[in-house]
Amino acid sequence: MTKSRRRRISTVVRYAVLSVWAVIAFFPIYWMIATSFKIDTQWFAWPPVYIPNPPTLANYRNVWLGAEEYTSTQYAISSQTPLVSLKNSVIISFTATFLAVFFGAIIAYGASRYRLLSEARMFQLLMLRMIPPIVVVAPLSLYYSAIGLLDTLFGLILIYFITSLPYAVWMTKSFIDEVPREVEQAAEILGASRWRTVFEVVLPLIRSGLVATFLFILILTWSEYLLALILSKTNVTTLPIELSKYQGTTEGRVYGRQAALAVGITVPLMIIGLVIRKHLARGFSFGMVRR
């Protein structure tokens, strides 16, 4: 076999393998999107309907705008809108993420420049993330109800802030470590205070890194399920909890509605994730792997 022929075969094999996985990776997402445009008789038809025909926006209108559109069956949940949950989700995830990145960056600066946290302490910080939340969530919910934080926006913000702090510290530290110390020394010689150095020299230098960290943690807080399920009851629901309300209703499976809601929850995340795709490896590996 000549070398060029072997190379051609390996190219074909590569495209074949990659394409098979691309189909596997994309098909469920396609199915979710397709189902959201299907009329109700096609949600679980036999044989399955692969392309919505005719496509309809009824699911979106019903779920997001609360439009009462009765098709062949009547669905009990059709009158409530998830806009309140959307508002809660936005408030909780943005605030918690902002706090985590803000304090995380400062702690990371201290760790990077002033040995604020030893290497061992930095790793201990990871435990906040690595111990499964389920093991503390019961006492946490009792503690929350004792101090009046159960079912409040602030309660969820606080716990999301705590659980995303390890990611924030580690990820921003990996960016700060890349800033040469000479810059700060110059600022110090020019008489800038330490806090001014942090806020006006170091953090602006890692601006893009901070944005990446912010968006990365936003992905995690936006999609969190367990803590939101237990620490919120009726006042504060987030979108993932709203989605599970469509489950187990006696009216049967309302796949189209569910899919319309799911698309609304997921698509923003996908866009964010694609924007920071170069930084995802750094984020998920706590800054240990970089590109």
Partner: protein, 328 residues
Amino acid sequence: MAARPPLDTAPKVSLREVSRARAIRRFRLTILVPLIALFVLVLMPVLFLQLYFSFHQWSIYLGSWWDADYVGLNLFTEVLTDPRFGWAILRSLAFATGSTIGCFVIGFALAYLMHKPFRGQALYYVVFILPMLTVPIVVAYTAEMLLYQSGPVNDLISRILGVEFKPAWLTDPNVALPAVTLLEIWNWTPFSFIIMLAGLSAIPKEPIEAAEILGASKWRIFWEVQLPLLRPVIFLALVLRFLEAMAEFPKTWALFQGGPGTATETLPVYIFLTTWQYFEVSKGAAMSYIVMMLMIVIVLLAIQLLRREKRSLDAMYGKAAREAGGEP
């Protein structure tokens, strides 16, 4: 606060040094205050409550929790002699191990096929990371739309194979745990993929080029040059994924609630059921306590591993930065 040194013995420079040291100490303290506050105000009370409930029999129906009866180690013996708990541990370990290996093998293979530039690379990359960007609870509900017995997945596989393929993914107790493991693999293969891709593109080129010049086969280069260089990244991908899989809750819960029977009752699901369905808060707390200890042991081992591997990673990036010119 350090005592001010006498003016006559200390030159001006040293005075500045002292005030600088003091400023640094204040700076460090200010940074640490929020961390310490969180620790004292949230973590400590929660851990204390968990310990309290592990030793006091209380359930929602029993009135105020601070009057609960002290029962010593009864709850722990109850949990440790509960066969369901043992099964839950085994299921969690099987789920975490299976999904970690699955994610890693597929992710690594894809990363290996993609680490050199080729036409369409960016598009494949985008498609491959999409599952990771899907909210876990959405993954669960979409899986339900896909996996019911006459659903599209079975239909498509039947058409491709040309024979009837109809496992009851969601109702057969023998298939449920593998089904949710496969789902976890679908969801998190992108994680292993991006980590391994970053690792593959970061390893130095020279040893590989040298081996190629010496006439080594691709296979030998992979096993003897690339794999040893990738060791830290591999450990990272495996350890972090395993820990996350041990904590997996949304998909398992939303799809199965532990069922059919107890087929998908992993540790998080069993703790959840005990505390919020059976309202046995104390038993749940004792169980949580045991699981927490177990996880702390696992995490400490993992951290030992990660610390060692991080040093070699830092050395690698430091070297790369120096070679790229300028200081690291």
